[in-house]
Subunit: 337 residues, 2 copies
């Protein structure tokens, strides 16, 4: 028995989650939903995914593009056990009613508020709390990246406080409408930023504040972390904890990975689909303990790091696998992490 | 009597310091030094600055470009009381010997190490210590920007510790050789960065650490500051302290200054020469006290913020003015700050 998964919204995240789900042996894609024809919809069909229109009025558009659709979202929801909602943000409430009507479980992305589902998910930090749930939100790329390291460090040494600056990519690589081309934008200007509270939706006890700035780049986010730990430890202790985590990749500037651009080139050379880096990229040679405080840099591939988390969330919510570590292992193995 | 100032190196900083010196009524430019002819050298002559070649072997080059030179650096040094050295970094030791030979005082920029002069300068923090000195180093743009706010906050409330992320412009606007076009580069990768210790060359008692990242932009640096203060205070207290400082400009995103790009446009609209922003640009609406810690953003125009500091350093070293506040006032008035 394989779990029947629908993908509503086949953009940056949706298409990646679809492929990651298809790569697992305990789940399958029963259909993907798009509002409009596009090169992505065509490639999806070539891959064998059943294509559904978001609504009846969209079907004509697909016909004009000579694309056959299997039906509408409504019809797809009758086939699926769970839907991964990767539609643009702020449509959550509306779709939630629809999913409830069809008795389908649903996973949203970080663009939606915690309140929509009352539960925010990270594979390593709270898998067991997701077991059997109807609705879950996989937190954003930045929050996922922060939770991965903070959970690891908190478990090993206790995190007294974390002060993080997030240098955000301003637009995704395929986005031709967004700027800035040449500027730095404090965003939000009101401090601290909302990213800290978002981490608290999963790790409520951690004292974390964040400041975020949009930068003129498309490739990855970069985090500058300053953390006070409860237990005294060395730089080697930190390396040893982080290198054991399933979704943290330690790199070194000595290997000529000195920037987000080289980290992305590295993912491509690894043969990753779409050149995706699913793991946090932590610079080993940036890890420093100074006056008892920890410092390091990590890069987060905004298009990719939440993808394996979505796969694990499916397994937890459908109770295919009770143990988080086993699901993570399974997901990672199927993807080749 | 006006002080006779030479400018050695007429690039990004040198040309700006020359104009700022020329704008004062107690000092004058006796000559500027270039190694090669360029549009900048031609404009300098149009402005009435006497042009000197760095060495005899460079004179031929100027002749070929039909530019008349008044002599060489050696000859200029016999005319000058003080030289502002804005040559590319790491030539300090060599030139120092030359200046000593000619009995000329000298000011270097932040590209040189503190050790070259044994004294690092900031107008507000240590003007009086520069009085009568032969050699002084005006700290870098980033350090100048940090010292301005830290000195102000330390004087008013005491700084317990400062944790700062520096998002650096990767290249100046006229630099066509430097990247990255699309990446974030932790630089230096080794943490904390050298900017903290550089602040300590002026404010040795302040606990400051810094992390620095090169970003794909040319306009300004952006600092994300997290500061613990000794005295309890409100956001209004912070605003009131910063707005009284002579080289801090408070801006607000409500006035549509939301980024470094708009901060630079603001400087242009103010009618500033070359569109220069000599002051720290501090976002008033970013100033926040959260759990007893202070947070804010500031932008630093890397081409400009050290310019008024160079003028004040001249006045201190030649003892034209004994009082720092009076010199700052004079410099600011002449520039129109």
């Amino acid at each position: 028995m394989t779990a029947k998964v629908a993908i509503n919204g086949y953009g940056t995240i949706g298409k990646r989650v679809a492929d990651a789900v298809a790569a697992q042996d305990d789940m399958e894609i029963v259909g993907i939903v798009k509002t409009r024809p596009s090169f992505e919809a065509k490639i999806a069909q070539d891959k064998g995914y059943a294509l559904y229109a978001a609504a009846k009025e969209n079907i004509e558009d697909f016909k004009k593009s000579k694309m056959e659709v299997s039906g509408t979202l409504d019809e797809l929801l009758d086939e699926a056990e769970i839907v991964v909602d990767a539609t643009p943000g702020d449509t959550g409430e509306e779709y939630k009613k629809l999913y409830e009507k069809h008795g389908v479980k649903a996973i949203w992305q970080g663009g939606e508020e915690h309140e929509l589902t009352g539960f925010s998910f990270n594979s390593e930090a709270n898998y067991s709390e997701a077991l059997g749930r109807d609705f879950t939100r996989v937190v954003s790329c930045n929050t996922t990246g922060l939770v991965r390291v903070l959970y690891a460090l908190d478990t090993a040494f206790g995190v007294k406080k974390a002060r993080v600056t997030l240098m955000r990519r301003a637009a995704d690589p395929n986005d031709i409408k967004t700027g800035p081309i040449n500027a730095l934008i404090p965003d939000p200007i009101k401090l601290p930023s909302h990213h800290g509270p978002d981490v608290n939706s999963i790790l409520p006890h951690i004292d974390i504040t964040t400041m975020a700035v949009k930068t003129s780049t498309t490739l990855m986010h970069l985090h500058a972390l300053n953390i006070e730990l409860k237990k005294k430890c060395t730089e080697d202790d930190i390396v040893n904890v982080l290198k054991e985590r399933p979704r943290i990749r330690l790199v070194s500037s000595k290997d000529r990975i000195k920037s987000t651009a080289e980290a992305m080139e590295f993912a491509k050379d690894l043969g990753r689909p779409r050149g995706d880096m699913w793991e946090n990229v932590v610079w080993k040679d940036s890890i420093a303990i100074n006056k008892g405080e920890l410092y390091f840099f990590q890069a987060i591939h905004q298009e990719a790091d939440v993808v394996p988390e979505n796969v694990d969330a499916i397994r937890a919510m459908l109770e295919i696998e009770k143990d988080g570590a086993s699901s993570i292992k399974k997901t990672n193995k199927a993807l080749g992490i």
